[in-house]
Amino acid sequence: MQPSYLLTVLTFLPLAGTAALFMLRADDHEWIRRIALAISLVEFGLSLLLIRGFAPDSAQYQFAEYHNWIPSPPIHYHVGVDGISLFLVILTTFLTPIAILASWKSIDQRVRAFFITLLVLETGVIGVFISLDLFLFFLFWEVMLIPMYLLIGVWGHERRIYAAIKFILYTMLGSILMLVAMIWLYELSGSFDLPQIQSMLVSGQVTLSLRTELLLFAAFFLAFAIKVPLFPLHTWLPDAHTEAPTAGSIILAGVLLKMGTYGMLRFCLPLFPEAAHRFAPYVAVLAIIGIIYGALVAMVQTDLKRLVAYSSVSHLGFVVLGLFAFDPTAVQGALYQMLNHGVSTGALFVLVGMLYDRRHTHLIREFGGLATPLPVIAAFFLFVSLASAGLPMLNGFVGEFLILSGTFVRHANWAAPAAIGVILSAIYLLWAYQRVFFGEVTQEKNRTLADADRREWAVLVAMAVLILWMGIGSVGFTRRTEASTRNVFMLMQRPQAYNARAALASSRSPIPGGLR
């Protein structure tokens, strides 16, 4: 394959673009917005080239680049995409212009700094998805925290500083332990290169003792579980979402949370299969609790943005459940659900942001009967809510269906309670919809609100089209992700894993109910 610099360009184009913004006068808001949008659109266009050049049947890392970076310990600039990361990259480049458009008018303080932060964030997120070197991955993973921290802390709402600090401390706690685990893994394998470590593990060249594997898995998993966030580590999320500006919420829900589930799929499962199998029942329980708990808490929220935030806890629970069902269909569904959630929850945050721009509140009781003054926004809101609730023909259905059917095959007792979450999500979304949009207009000042303008139309149509397309044309996506998800299961095979399990089984049998 010819060397390609597309991924490097994709990663660093937004960062380079900030230079253009630095050259503009700080108070030239209009041009700052336009340039930022232009950069993000070019970025999106370039990312579509990935699909064109992507070989769908291959599980290999494509568009790979490999350069020496730090000689000792050996660290390389190694990037590439496979079916797992391909669409996550595109989701990022898609949501960034949406986020820029969504903050077109609502951001009027320190505008230049805002768009610079947003673009730096995009660089960080893309870097996370394409890194194939553990060190490089960690670098992007951490660096991306700072722009998100600033987005929440500088441009957020009233309790923004509390939320920002909570967000960053939670994430750092997880990630620093992951760093320790990465270095430990390096001490054992002599490499930071993910494919290389992977092949050494599969070939049996490097073996992890069970205790080591459990500890390493736990360290990686904790970092990712905080990011997802998995119940009971989710408490930073509602605060961060509620206080973040619209753009922050879009990126946070749309892509940042996916970094957690992506990490599980990329690192936890293939590197530590034995530990993953042992932890799976507990993880599944937490995921199911998250699904139901998130939905129930979402139901009683009085703040619309908090409601959407809790719905994320619920939806991401599905994804984690799908991943830990160890079924190719469920994993496919989980991957698809990551994209779905990015698009539909992103769209929900866009819509909530639009309401906030008009009324400067997220409280449901401040709304009511909004369908009369805002018919267009109401229609799109319904459409997106249904997508999020998993209506067939729309995107959410495909993901949830794949996850539940895949999980059911392996663990029927996991799938049954999880399915309740689907019903609950319809309840809280439609109930909220009813309270906000249906009936008589309850507040006088809501009567005169202006409906969507051209910019808002553009954003909403783009998202709605994508939602519909992902609902109908899901094959176009799953066709490209299938080889890579199957590959994950190939990588989970270990020559010694069976021996270990067999040895354990034999050692356990003489003592009934012995040590575990």
Binding site: I70, E142, I146, G153, M172, L173, V180, I183
Partner: protein, 485 residues
Amino acid sequence: MFPPREDILRLLPEIILCLSGILLMLVEPFLTRARRNVLVTLAALGSGLALVSTIYPATLPGTAFSGLLRIDGFSVFVHVVVEAVAFLVVIGSADYLDREHIQHGEYYALILFATAGMGVMASAAELMTAFVGLETSSISTYILASYRRDVPRSNESALKYFLLGSFATAFFLYGVALVYGATGTTQLARMTFPATPGGERLLDLGLALMLVGLAFKVAAAPFQLWTPDVYEGAPAPITALMASGPKAAAFALLLRILASVSAAGTFWFWALWISAALTMFVGNLAAVAQSNVKRMLAYSSISHAGYMLVALAAAAASDQVELGVAAVLYYLAVYALMKLGAFILVSQLGGESERHMEIDDFRGLAVRQPVAAACFALFLLSLLGLPVTAGFLGKFYIFNAALASRLVWLAVLLAINSVIASFYYLRVIVVMYMREPNQTWPPVPMPWAVTFVLSVAAAGTFYLGLFPGRVMALATQAALSLPGR
């Protein structure tokens, strides 16, 4: 009896430092008040020349002065660090001294003398020489700490530093005496076996006392109590010097003893382990509660000593000291850069007589002085250990050394401490970026000298954070150049 030419060249940096110090004091009486800027030029030239002249020891490794000094990659590395620190502190001090009306030649001379002492510590192959270096650098810094003569706090700082520091030096000296009694030598290279019967215990005791003395100098718990008061009271540029230079030299001495004396490795290991854990927690937990920037940075420098002690413990735990030693050396360079940048920046932003040293005084700095705020944020993030900045790679190498020696729990403690630390570093960023400005005073100007120092520190922070290869190779070479046990 004149020493051979090579030996002179091997000591050239120290000679240049001392001579330019003397020259400074001789020149001063001939200068009018208006011409005082000649002083800083001379001092900068002196320290710069000393820095350049390390090329001689670098090309002439070996022992000098009948085995008193050992010039190797290790000593050269530490020399470069402490001399670069002196150079930057000299340049960064000029405007501060003008503002405080204490522009005198002896200030610079003392910095240069102190640096010469640190240089001797770094290359001492023998404990009495090390002691002379330690005293030279300590006494100069005692005086410098009290340099704001009219400020009671500065006097308090110096007195505290002097009293406790003398105690610590006495400990060190007593330790040297005991070690001498046990082994019959003060030469590090020959200190392997106790010479007298029952000497093991004497040797252990001596080593313990030496560790106490040096732990005081690096501000390791439980000997860290002086640090916040002294750092707060001393003139801010001197705080920058104290936090980076003497600490580097004391660590160098610790490392050299650790690498050369096998008894030190086994005997010190648990002491280092416990002290590392304690130092990290004490420094970080106390820093969380500070409202004064200088005090916060002082506690943070305690915690950083703890991080370096982790690598030291790693070096003590394994037969291969290189990983740990190289990690410490790299961290010393990184740490000197970021701490120096932070303190020099604070010294400038503090305004006349360091009035604005509360964290709250930095409110809205990002709006008022975006470049200064960005610079400070960079140093803070580097101290925190965020990737892309030097602090991250420094910490990364420490983790690497610790895990290579299988010190998993110490590594986990280090990780937990990094998270605690991020709280107070980020709080300053919160204040600068997320709060509305409330200052009534005008923005502080950034003179070119300060700008120069900050640019060097910032560029270094990025360089060492992105391309550690070359410096790390030097640090590894330096570590390998130490005589094995």
